[in-house]
């Protein structure tokens, strides 16, 4: 029997969730400016502590690296995670990795929301500036 690529898995949706913070707008126009992700230096294997966090990517990475408040927040929230800024056709999506069902809300602290809000603000300002 030939494999049909359009057939979905019979086990359905898996209990892994990802939260996207969406900024609407044509992200594809600004994709070289807006694609970015975090990198970090971590000490320890079992009890990890993040020593340094920085952004890699387009123009937005420079601005995010210069934001001291954001860096302070990222040092506390990024233990075993990364944040990605991903421009798609109708929006710019800011997200981290998939989480299991029971940990969806644990990672979404007040500090995390503030960090995502700051990142979204930078995304919006770049989109306005280079419109």
């Amino acid at each position: 029997m030939a494999d049909n690529p359009t057939t979905l898995h019979t086990y359905g949706a898996l209990p892994f969730y990802q939260i996207h913070f969406v900024v609407k707008g044509n992200g594809k126009v600004f994709e070289e400016l807006l694609v970015a992700r975090t990198r970090k230096r971590v000490r320890g294997v079992i009890s990890k502590s993040v020593e340094d966090v920085w952004w890699e990517g387009g123009k937005i990475a420079e601005r995010l690296n210069n934001d001291t408040r954001l860096k302070q927040l990222l040092l506390t929230i990024l233990k075993d995670d990364d944040i990605f800024i991903d421009p798609v056709e109708n929006a710019v999506r800011i997200y981290s990795r998939f989480k299991i069902e029971s940990e969806v809300t644990r990672h979404l602290s007040r500090e995390a929301i503030e960090a995502y809000n700051i990142i979204a603000g930078h995304v919006r300002s770049i989109m306005k500036e280079f419109e």
């Binding site: 086990y11 892994f16 969730y17 109708n90 999506r93 809300t105």
Partner: protein, 99 residues
């Protein structure tokens, strides 16, 4: 009573009460553990003091979800819901599930 104070298996308390059926003159209410991830997320956001509400946004919910610049992102995902939060720089929060 003590079990209720401790919480169930150390998990976050997402239990709710509903129904006010009366049995034998006493008011009885049914308690259940919230299992809908949308409601859990919404309750969590409201608990943080945010003005959040579930809203339908076709433009966001129908995707595309990834540009695939980052290769580790999955090919098959399913949209769960879209939550709007007022007073934020982002337009909405989109919850996706794998598979």
């Amino acid at each position: 009573m003590k079990d209720k104070e401790r919480g169930r298996h150390g998990m976050a308390d997402t239990s709710h009460k509903h129904g006010d059926g009366s049995e034998g003159g006493e008011k009885a209410s049914e308690e259940y553990l919230e299992s809908d991830v949308r409601v859990i997320l919404l309750t969590h956001l409201r608990g943080l003091g945010l003005d959040a509400y579930i809203s339908s946004d076709r433009e966001v919910e129908e995707g595309p979800y990834y540009s695939y610049y980052f290769t580790s992102m999955p090919r098959i995902v399913t949209n769960v819901c879209c939550i709007k939060v007022s007073g934020m720089n982002f337009d909405c929060i989109n919850l996706l599930t794998r598979g």
